[in-house]
């Protein structure tokens, strides 16, 4: 495969206010080089504005070091939330991991 290496971070369960601090830390910890990041949301059962805030912060931190951050396998609920926030054009969004890996 000739594509550059990508690091995958998996979020799961309710990405909500209760887990906001953990989510933020986990995402920011992953941004430690120029590796491009993919956030796998396939196991996310619910996401709210606090989860979105962590992802926006991580996206900006990734951009700051010249990396990218894409979102993979969003549920209908998650996609809806990104659309409502008009962030579906800001984040690269991929339907599944093979598509994301070969993008």
């Amino acid at each position: 495969m000739s594509a550059p290496q990508k690091r995958v971070i998996e979020l799961s369960g309710d990405v909500d206010l209760e887990h906001a601090a953990d989510t933020r830390q986990m995402l920011l910890d992953a941004i430690d080089g120029t590796t491009d990041l993919l956030v796998d949301l396939s196991a996310v059962t619910y996401i709210d504005s606090s989860g979105i805030a962590s992802l926006v912060e991580a996206l900006q931190a990734a951009h700051d070091i010249g990396a990218t951050l894409g979102l993979v396998a969003l549920s209908t609920q998650a996609l809806r939330v990104f659309e409502l926030a008009r962030l579906d054009k800001v984040f690269p969004i991929y339907p599944d991991m093979p598509t994301a890996m070969s993008a």
Partner: protein
Amino acid sequence: MTGNSARSQLPSTDGNAAAEQLLLEIRFFAKPDRLKLIRPVVLAAARMCGFDEQGGQDIVLATDEACQNVIIHGYRGQPDKQITLTAYDIADGIQIRLRDTAPAADPAHIHPRDLDDIRPGGLGTHFMQAAMDDVVYLPAPGGVGNLLRLTKHLPRQP
């Protein structure tokens, strides 16, 4: 004592509309870990009022964001404060009311960030506006606190 609240009578309506029907009242402490208990009951109430899965999820999101704002901005994280949520079947939709005893909020200062100014935060009130038809901040009836009224109507039948 729990006994006190058991004996105060649930309102059958708040006096607004004859057609509205109280579905239930939930009281909980203003803590982030309680929201996962609130979401499923709001979804069930939305389904009971006739909303489809997507409509129900929008109502859940708006209610969750409203609770988050009370927890964060209203009570500033004090975990011993409480929120009272009531859900009404309003015949052509649903109304969710949230009451708190936080200092009176000024609706003029409650608004989302500019959606084009991309930064973390500032989206909760946007989700509430986008998901619901009507979002009204009122002083709590009878004094201390705030009453937030979230209303959504059913889509018209084709």
